[in-house]
Amino acid sequence: MRIDLSPRTNRSRLMDGFAPILAFVVAVAIGGVVVAVMGRSPATAFVTYFIAPLSEVWSLQEVALKAAPLALIAIGLAFCFRANVWNIGAEGQFVIGGLFGGWIAVATHGAGGSTFWVLPLMLAVGTLAGVAYALIPAILKVWLGVSEILTSLMLVYVAELLLDYMARGPLRDPAGYNFPQSVTFDDAARLPYLMEGDTLHAGVLIALTAVVVATIVLARTLFGFEVRVVGASPRAARFAGFSDVRLTLAVFAVSGGAAGLAGIAEVAGKIGQLQPSISPGYGFTAIIVAFLGRLSPVGILVAALVIALTTIGGEGAQIDLKLPLDLTRAFQGLLLALVLGADALSRYRVLFVPGTAT
């Protein structure tokens, strides 16, 4: 017997939308079985993972704060992945954006006079640093044909070590009792809070703006069309007159810029100073988020919220149920596999053909 995938002729739009929801339900069911095998109540675990984080204002804010950088980075990556360019180094671009943007804050620390320009400058420098850092693998690819997968990934570790060195060395707070961290940023160098007394800062708005802008760019501009055509059919894109060199550079710049902006928004928002490590792996998780969201900006926003929810819920489960954090990661991976699988099944029918394979 062999198994064939035959394209569905009449795909229903309803099924297309329903497929990821179904995948989520299946993932939760499998997760429930695993939790039960580990000797905990699946119902309690479900509440801890998915309900508890949504039931309190502070945890809702935490979900939004985690989702914002994920969505912003993943939207940038969507441009790359749609164009068949594989930027795996968003984590490094995130770190570099945070480092160079944060450097402005350290350099202007305690400066008198008007300081309204500090935060915009930080955001701009963080973004541009991300762009520049992403262009390294892009240029190596178009100029020398080096695989961007390897170079972008390896540059992540370079970026992390650079930040580590800077936070412990040149940018360390001289009055900080040798703690490996910079001065706490001035208020002028911090993203404003959306509401007084809350943790939710303006970085969330940046991510939401990115969703809107990216949706328009992909659907309504010639650049977005280029990205779609190159992804769909590289030779047809050349026939259309779109240069793959220019596009490779452009999508790397877009994704590097988005990651860099997310980095500086994290530093200027949640953290408020430079530390040896500023990311719990946002740049890597964003790859999952990008594909969970099917490389569409709105889908990515939803996916980022789901992944953020499971992460916050996972922390809760760690504390309340003594369930390991690895379980959360396993669940996130399972969810990705199931969503991709459900996507394939909504596009193709599985046929079981009797007889020997040829």
């Binding site: 309504r220 501009t221 055509v229 769909a232 059919s233 007159g241 053909v353 007889g355 020997t356």
Partner: protein
Amino acid sequence: MPPVTEGPTPLFGAYGIVKRFGDFKANDGVDLEIRAGEIHALLGENGAGKSTLMKILYGLLEPTEGVVTHRGDIVKLANPEAARALGIGMVFQHFSLCENLTVAENIALVMPRSLGARALKKKMSTVGTTYGLHLDPDRPVWSLSAGERQRIEIIRCLLQDPRLVILDEPTSVLTPGEAEGLFTVLERLRDEGRALLYISHRLDEVRRLCSRATILRGGKVVGACDPRQESARSLAAMMVGVQVGEVKPPSGVPLGPERLVLSNLSLTTSGLHGTALVDISLTVAGGEIVGIAGIAGNGQAELFDALSGEALAPEAGMVAFDGQPVGRLGITQRRRHGACFVPEERNGHAAAPTLSLSDNALLSRHATAGLSRFGFLRSAATKALAQHVIGAFDVRKAGPDPAAGTLSGGNLQKFLMGREIMAEPGILVVNQPTWGVDALAAAHIRQALLDLAGRGAALLVISQDLDELFEIAGRIAVLHDGTLSRAVPASETSREAVGLLMGGSGGVGTEAVAPSSTREAASHAH
């Protein structure tokens, strides 16, 4: 040698064959009988179900309903091994050969492992002498011509001593001379009492070779005839269900100024198996169609890329559109000079198969049809353009704006030709305008090309179909191994002469032509 069978029981029969793909019936109650000692033609347009039936007979597909019989007994063809065991062999249209292996190695790949190398070579030379299929067993496949490669496929098939040989479009890659050689082999196989199932859209060949024909349309058998008693036009009419009109060239159009000029264009190739272009010169005047004949792989793709700007010429002056040197310009800038291009490969080159038709309209027209403003797309204008093309070229499709890849080959080609022709280009370069397109759509496309030339455009048509070139081209040149022969008026040459040049044995006429003499030769053939 297989025993010669005579009598009423057919060698192979297929009865009530139904093959469903989802809701689509590719074969719908097809009956076919093949007798020993006959060459049986299977005719039909693209999508008529020929390939499906052929694959069922070779065990590549299983029928949803119906039976296959061998000498009157029902047999089950679960896979090609089972088909081969019953004596069914197949020569595919697309060769399945390993380029880097030798002839003998490629043949050994499909033979039983027990057969030693020396025994294999001996068998090869026996078959080679018997049928006149001569091949050096030690030559690597990449160094062989298409005709020689086909010989490997035929020898591979004959070494298994088949009683039925299925041939799928066997002459599509051959020169007329090579095709003659093939016909001799096929006639010899027939005389030995073997059965041949011959699939071709070249009706003249079918009339020459075949004693019976089964005609498929829409998955059903719509007729059977003796092709020798029919004309090519009556066969075509049976295939498409309506009478195919002949294309009419506009008569007495005076030629305009030179619009497309190639001057000593040479281009090295980057790929391992690509063909370098050597010193190509050619002029095409307004109102003229110049045809480029040649066997696939002799530089057609490279010439097309050099004209479209997908490959840049070493010097700007080597390619000129309307007197402007464009050799160093990319495809978008060449389009802005009033040129349009239709490449050979529909899916993945001329069109992105997963994108909608309107997105595909945008693909080649984004810079020249005012479809974007300040970098933003004007989707209403784009959709209108696509609908305009769909209406004017009678593109059949499902849904208002489906993905290009869901269209049949002929309908997609009509859309792509329409997309470029309706841009009213001053210069149009087309590679294989009607490749794999049914007779009716092909006639429509050729008429549209002639009409465009009639409106003063310069057309360069690259095609492997000599009938097509003689039908529409005023002058014909032959591309062989990257060099272009002198373009001569179609009325002053013959298929045989062009065929010789295609095989590289022209001798004279490969020198570049001076633009002045071209103008004299350019009087319209029709």
